[in-house]
């Protein structure tokens, strides 16, 4: 028995491919039971989005990356739509908002064709120059335009650009994206369990759990040992920062986290922590794994 376990090879390509499917199956059963339980079994929103991402990655691995990345574009659209429904926009901001929506297919296409150089500047340079112009072009008065630009730019950055980073990470390797998503989910689960004991306890318990997860997934993610430990430390810190930021934003937007109605914070509440952690983890892994220097992943 012991001999069997020690000879079990986690790094085999079959396990690497089949595990996301098993995770998808488990989460599908969990969501289905929650739906059939008529409210008795409550599933947090972020688990629903973890399921959605698992589905996207399954499509990427077993069908093609192109439909998968466009499914991510749809998730980005849903999140941005909800955000724009919540913020206090003026009539004059319509063109700027439209510009933000147009940025989604534009950016996703850049991920699809693996044009990293343009992807990384598309929103912070081009969109952030064009959208203020679009906001002010029909605005005779100008009052409130700065606030509108800030609101639109933040939505674009968070729900399009950060999600773009997740898409790009998935482009390089599904398991790297899963490392991020599973770690954030684990952090959130631990912190939900430790709500009564305070944030610090949740963080201190989440930290070794995520480091352990990162090391466990090492054969599939191919991240070297030290960076794997570092990512395991980095993600709980980012989750803590993200939760703090998102709580404040939700409060400002009037989102009632205890009673999330459709169109009133459901997507934002579920997705925000994943998106908050995505860019930094992406850039660290890209640097460590030297993705810029050789063609790997779905582009290989």
């Amino acid at each position: 028995m012991q001999g069997n376990l020690s000879s079990f090879d986690w790094g085999r390509p079959e396990w690497r491919q089949i595990t996301p499917l098993i995770l998808l199956l488990v989460s599908s059963i969990l969501l289905l039971s929650a739906r059939l339980s008529r409210g008795r079994l409550h599933i947090p929103g972020y688990l629903r989005y973890l399921w959605a991402f698992l589905l996207v990655f399954a499509v990427a691995d077993f069908v093609s990356f192109t439909p998968a990345v466009w499914l991510l574009a749809f998730i980005s659209f849903r999140a941005l739509r909800e955000y724009f429904s919540l913020v206090d926009l003026r009539l004059e901001d319509r063109l700027g908002v439209m510009g933000a929506y147009v940025a989604i297919p534009f950016m996703i296409y850049l991920v699809q064709i693996d044009w990293y150089g343009f992807f990384i500047v598309s929103i912070p340079v081009y969109a952030f120059i064009v959208i203020p112009y679009l906001v002010t072009v029909f605005d005779e008065d100008g009052r409130g335009s700065l606030l509108s630009i800030g609101m639109i730019d933040f939505g674009l950055f968070f729900f399009v650009y950060c999600l773009g980073h997740l898409a790009y990470l998935a482009y390089y390797s599904t398991w790297l994206a899963l490392l991020l998503l599973l770690s954030v989910t684990l952090c959130k689960l631990v912190s939900t369990c430790c709500t009564s004991r305070g944030r610090l306890v949740g963080f201190l318990l989440g930290l070794p759990a995520v480091v352990g997860l990162s090391l466990l997934l090492q054969p599939w993610t191919d991240v070297p040992l030290v960076p794997a430990v570092f990512v395991g430390v980095l993600i709980p810190v980012l989750v803590q920062m993200g939760e703090r930021t998102i709580t404040a934003i939700e409060r400002d937007l009037g989102i009632d986290a205890g009673n999330l109605e459709p169109g009133r914070g459901r997507v934002l509440d579920a997705l925000a922590t994943y998106l908050f952690a995505a860019p930094i983890v992406f850039h660290y892994l890209r640097w460590i794994m030297k993705f810029g220097e050789s063609v790997t992943g779905h582009g290989a």
Binding site: F77, F84, S85, L147, E261
Partner: protein, 475 residues
């Protein structure tokens, strides 16, 4: 085509095209479907901001009801586009209204639909109007329900369509749509009464829906400033404090008297001290100890200027709803000037002095020659004193006020004698006249020899009246 086939094709169109598209592009959240009767007849009346409204309301209804739905729409608007008109005529089977023509036929047709068990969707505003602003409801729906009082009338509010596709926009913007359906109304009275009640119900639904939306920070409201004037011993400090305490039950108030106090929730609250306040109190003590009017003047003017600056500071740092001032630097200076130059007393003179001291006035006003202090204040850039929003003058006979001052047992100030107080009282009355007649600023004279609580209640009534008037004028 047979009517059943029409009905089926409409349902398929709704089910396979319209609803999925609306959910995909906009997202639709419906609340209050439990308020819908199981079947028609009923009338659904909603606010109207966009062409999307009708699509959203139809998509909010259970599918089996769609066969009985009729809408009320403007023929003159849609008839301009022939194909669209034919399509809408097939999809919604509207009761077409010719705006500008009489509504008798329309009402008759609506009654027929209701009698046949149909579901009528109406937009009583008649037109899409300004985005996010609910217009006045037309009385047609009231008349219809007045004719058929047993037909359930359901108010509905649509939030989001005014952003997605307002009248000014050509392209729709993907944002969530929230439809809130209220419980059936119990209607009574004339058509006008029913319409008014319906508008109130829709507005109430709208308030609860829009309350969940983020609002940009409202423009900082300026505190309403009430100055309580009176000669020494008239009880103005007591009245100002009583008013500040009384209003603080539901608002935050600030009292600027011998000391600066803040009140909230019916009690005094602590606040970060201000440096100007400490300096002012020291100057006030100096003025009270002055041996003659000449020595009184400089510290008193300085104290008044600082008191005025304090009003700005209190507004900036404490943000109260109401400020009560024991005296008003602007009006006190004006009134006091007459103590020195009695012969110049007139309402016009007072009005000109107030204009100059509050930052206006003519550059070559002869008043500057009479009062070099005024010129000095202007040159130093100090003539920007605040005008209060309302003034209350407590009128007390100088004899009575002298008795009150003696009863306090404090040291008498240099001007506290019957003759000077009598002149000061006249000067204040003149200022009140100037405010009312020349400057259009509400100023009231109250008899200060009555019970303090009676005076407070009377003052409160007057202040409330002015504030309500200002609120109505602004809205």
């Amino acid at each position: 085509m047979a009517p059943e086939l029409h009905r089926l094709s409409r349902l398929i169109f709704h089910l396979l095209l319209l609803r999925p598209l609306l959910h995909l592009i906009f997202g639709l959240n419906v609340r209050g479907t439990e308020n819908l009767p199981a079947r028609g007849p009923f009338i659904l009346a909603a606010n109207h901001n966009s062409h999307l409204d009708i699509l959203m309301l139809c998509s909010s209804l259970p599918l089996h009801m769609l066969g009985d739905v009729h809408i009320v729409a403007a023929r003159d608007y849609f008839e301009r586009h022939k194909k669209l008109f034919t399509f809408l005529d097939w999809l919604f089977r509207p009761v077409w209204v010719d705006r500008g023509a009489g509504g008798g036929d329309v009402l008759k047709r609506m009654v027929e639909i209701v009698d046949a068990g149909g579901i009528l969707i109406v937009f009583p505003e008649g037109t899409r109007g300004e985005a996010g602003v609910m217009g006045r409801f037309h009385s047609g729906v009231g008349r219809l329900v007045g004719d058929r009082p047993l037909t359930p009338l359901l108010p509905a509010f649509i939030l989001g369509s005014e952003r997605a596709l307002p009248r000014e926009a050509a392209l729709p913007l993907p944002v969530w749509q929230h439809v809130s359906i209220g419980p059936p109304q119990i209607v009574q009275g004339s058509g006008g009464d029913i319409t008014r009640d319906l508008q109130q119900s829709v507005a109430a639904l709208g308030r609860s829906e829009t309350a969940k939306r983020q609002r940009r920070r409202e423009e900082r409201r300026q505190a309403f400033v009430v100055a309580v004037l009176g000669i020494d011993g008239s009880g103005k400090s007591t009245l100002a404090r009583l008013l500040a305490e009384d209003y603080s039950v539901d608002q935050s108030t600030c009292l600027i008297g011998d000391e600066l106090m803040l009140f909230a929730d019916g009690a005094q609250r602590r606040a970060q001290p201000l440096l100007k306040e400490k300096l002012r109190r020291w100057l006030s003590a100096q003025a009270k100890d002055a041996r003659s009017l000449a020595f009184y003047k400089i510290p008193k003017i300085s104290e008044l200027l600082l008191r005025d600056a304090l009003l700005g500071e209190a507004r900036r740092w404490y943000g109260p709803d109401l400020v009560f001032m024991d005296g008003s630097p602007l009006l006190n200076m004006t009134a006091w000037s007459t103590l020195y130059r009695n012969e110049l007393m007139s309402p016009e003179f007072c009005a000109r002095a107030i204009e100059i001291l509050s930052g206006g006035g003519q550059p070559n006003d002869p008043l500057y020659r009479e009062f070099p202090e005024l010129k000095a204040i202007k040159r130093l850039g100090l003539a920007r004193l605040h005008r209060p929003d309302a003034v209350i003058f407590l009128d007390v006979a100088p004899g009575v006020s002298m008795k009150r001052i003696f009863d306090r047992g404090e040291k008498l100030q240099v001007h506290e004698n019957e003759e000077k107080l009598s002149r000061l009282r006249e000067a204040y009355l003149l200022v009140v006249r100037a405010l009312n007649e020349n400057l259009n600023l509400p100023a009231f004279v109250l008899d200060g020899e009555r019970d303090q609580l009676t005076i407070r209640d009377e003052a409160r009534c007057l202040i409330d009246e002015i504030r309500t008037g200002i609120g109505e004028a602004t809205s």
